[in-house]
């Protein structure tokens, strides 16, 4: 890793921190996708908490604070926790979320008890074990990076190799089982991948907040992309960016790394959840508001046209009464129609202009056509699975189909008896 450290335009210790955080971000981001898409994000949380007693036991057993030894302990404890969760879920009637809760809290408690015990022994060597709680990127050494890099490369290579079985099992386990994939084995394997990610990140982010590095990149990436084969690299990228930014800030400010990384990650998730095109909250909110407004305006337009058809032009108040809509909504819709030049006012009373009447008829035709489609659409025998746009059926089906639908609708209204006879003979 020396060459990479030299390459970065940072001083030595910052470079080590940045590389460590990037490795963690890449591994946890890519592998966390397998937790989030299985809707098992909290399994990652439980595994991270379960790793803590492993670190303590490894320390007690060897007496050495060598990072590699401690991480082996963390991995073993994580595996035990994972198998315990799977075992509880399969053999008892305990639900997965409860199994996760039991394993997470009991392993973590054991870890805290052991940490306290180790601290009370006054072994000079023990100082710093508590960084495994909240993480301390500044404590990374160059040789830690090598271990992290090897683990990350191996895990990602395995994911790339087994991508299709993993994808199939993730998406549709029943299908995967039917074509002969060992579904349970693959599911356990995905949990193992999470253990690897936890081991890579434990020193930097800490047991308590490790889950954020698994979940945050996957959630943010999912907002931005619709394909698993792109989602995994994108999550790795986001994870690396979040990790490096958080770790560098934390190293400067001399605060534990975990919380800072999580706060940076939260900012990224917030931004993508709000702003992502197509999926973002703001984007969807704007579309919803537009759709509602359109529905209201069209509804009032049609009400107005039917009222005028039946009697004298109404006042806004009469229109609201006749249509059963709140007066405020009617007033809002009328002012929109007015701006579009569809209304003519005669004192209090409202007429439709020529363009207004045309628009009202167009809306009515669209609605009739849509009803006709729902009732008779299957008789058109469209050659494919097209589903026409309800807001503009004529354009999406073509004039021929639309006219045929109208004909079917008219025939259906007149010839009910004949239709029934046809059904009976089928």
């Amino acid at each position: 890793m020396g060459w990479l450290i030299d390459l970065l335009p940072l001083n030595y210790s910052d470079a080590v921190v940045a590389i460590g955080a990037a490795l963690l971000g890449i591994a946890a981001g890519a592998l966390g996708v397998f937790a989030v898409l299985r809707q098992r994000s909290l399994v990652g949380d439980a595994l991270a908490h379960a790793a803590l007693p492993g670190v303590c036991v490894a320390f007690l057993a060897t007496g050495a604070k060598d990072a590699t030894t401690l991480l082996v302990g963390a991995a073993l404890a994580g595996l035990v926790g994972a198998l315990l969760m799977v075992g509880i879920e399969r053999t008892s009637r305990v639900r997965p979320d409860a199994a996760i809760g039991v394993v997470l809290s009991s392993f973590f408690s054991l870890g805290i008890v052991l940490l306290t015990h180790i601290a009370s022994t006054n072994d000079a060597n023990q100082a710093g074990l508590d960084t495994y709680l909240f993480g301390q990127a500044a404590g990374l050494l160059e040789r830690d990076l090598d271990v992290m890099a090897v683990l990350a490369v191996v895990a990602l290579a395995v994911v790339a190799l087994a991508f299709r079985p993993l994808k199939t099992t993730l998406f549709d386990p029943a299908f995967a089982g039917a074509v002969g994939l060992p579904v349970r084995l693959l599911e356990i394997f995905m949990t193992m991948l999470l253990v690897v990610a936890v081991v890579i990140g434990l020193r930097t982010v800490g047991a308590i907040l490790m889950v954020a590095m698994l979940v945050v990149p996957a959630v943010a990436a999912r907002q931005l992309c619709n394909r698993l084969s792109l989602l995994i690299p994108l999550a790795a990228l986001i994870g690396a960016a979040v990790g490096v930014a958080g770790a560098l800030i934390a190293a400067r400010a001399e605060v534990p790394t975990g919380p800072v990384i999580v706060l940076v990650g939260f900012a990224v998730v917030l931004a993508t959840v709000l702003l992502a095109p197509g999926r973002g909250v703001l984007w969807r909110g704007r579309k919803l508001a537009r759709d509602r407004r359109r529905a209201l305006v069209e509804g009032v337009l049609v009400d107005l046209e039917t009222t005028i058809h039946a009697g004298p032009p109404p006042t806004p108040r009469e229109l609201a009464l006749a249509s059963g809509r709140p007066r405020r909504q009617v007033a809002r819709a009328l002012s929109a129609l007015d701006r579009a030049g569809m209304l003519a006012r005669d004192g209090e009373r409202i007429h439709l202009t020529e363009s207004g009447a045309a628009a009202a008829h167009a809306v009515l035709e669209r609605r009739d056509l849509w009803s006709a489609w729902l009732e008779h659409g299957w008789k058109l025998r469209l050659p494919d699975a097209r589903e026409p746009d309800p807001t503009d059926l004529r354009a999406s089906l073509g004039d021929d189909c639309a006219d045929e639908l109208r004909r079917l609708a008219l025939a259906g209204d007149g010839g009910g008896a004949a239709g029934d006879a046809g059904q009976g003979a089928r």
């Binding site: 299709r164 039917a178 074509v179 992309c225 619709n226 698993l228 299957w378 699975a385």
Partner: protein, 270 residues
């Protein structure tokens, strides 16, 4: 793996009599705790026919398919595909799970889902050959989804999702198709066109078994039926299975429990 001719359906035109049953289930027993879901069910679905598994809600219809494929543990029972144990004949079966069994917000496109049908035949770790890519496109065209290949699956309607699942099964090129409730929650138009497609597949020589909830369409569309209510109540040609007497036994006519389905079916059968 190369023994069967390109995975294609068996030769069409031969009568069903001289072929082993496409799917044979023997003494299948499944229970959840103490509650029996399937009890010593025997069934034999003929090759080259369109068969339905019908029965009231909770009769174990879907469970029978899943247990036959080994997707859920059975207490006892055996499944034979073309006379061989199902474990040795996975490449002869294409399974279409229930639509709501998967997360439709999953980041995957229509084409990728159908491509999944080719993974097992070509090998899980090999690049998908070009002729397989063409086959995937053909299967999409066949279910009328050719224009949708690049869509994210979450953007599809219920009927379109069902078509995608069927296209994936077609891509497997297996002679036996097992479908779990393909018509639940789809519009009339999709139901009609899927039934038409199934009949065409049958005429090409494939064997199809469908878990079906609508007794009204069974008589018109299917050749063979298994009437199930925890036990196998009746099995055979549709006209013999869907009768007043057998339906009464499966649905308990006369009791308060007669469902609307059963009532309709009786008026059909009568």
């Amino acid at each position: 793996m190369s023994a069967h001719q390109d995975g294609g359906p068996p030769t069409a035109g031969r009568g069903a009599g001289d072929r082993a049953p496409a799917l044979e289930i023997r003494r299948m027993t499944v229970s959840y705790g103490a509650r029996p879901v399937l009890w010593d069910v025997d069934a034999s679905f003929p090759a080259g026919r369109l068969s339905a598994i019908v029965g009231p809600n909770g009769a174990g219809k879907s469970t029978l398919l899943k247990a036959a494929l080994g997707l859920i543990p059975a207490d006892a029972g055996q499944t034979l595909v073309e006379g061989r144990p199902v474990g040795a004949a996975r490449d002869r079966v294409a399974y279409v799970p229930q639509r709501d069994a998967v997360d439709w917000d999953f980041p995957i496109t229509v084409r990728e889902v159908v491509e999944m049908g080719r993974y097992a035949p070509t090998g899980w770790f090999r690049r998908v050959p070009r002729r397989d890519a063409a086959l995937v496109d053909d299967c999409l065209e066949r279910v009328g989804m050719g224009d949708f290949r690049g869509r994210q699956i979450g953007q599809l309607s219920g009927g379109q999702r069902q078509r995608v699942f069927i296209a994936r099964a077609l891509a497997q090129q297996a002679p036996l198709l097992l479908m779990d409730e393909p018509f639940s929650g789809v519009d009339a138009r999709t139901e009609a066109s899927i039934l038409e497609l199934l009949a065409a597949l049958r005429d090409e020589g494939r064997s199809i078994v469908v878990v079906h909830h609508d007794l009204g369409t069974v008589r018109g569309a299917f050749d063979h039926a298994l009437l199930l209510n925890v036990r196998a109540v009746a099995e055979g040609p549709v006209a013999e299975v869907v009768t007043r007497e057998t339906l009464a036994r499966a649905y308990g006519a006369g009791a308060d429990a007669v469902g609307r389905d059963a009532g309709e079916a009786l008026s059909w059968a009568g």
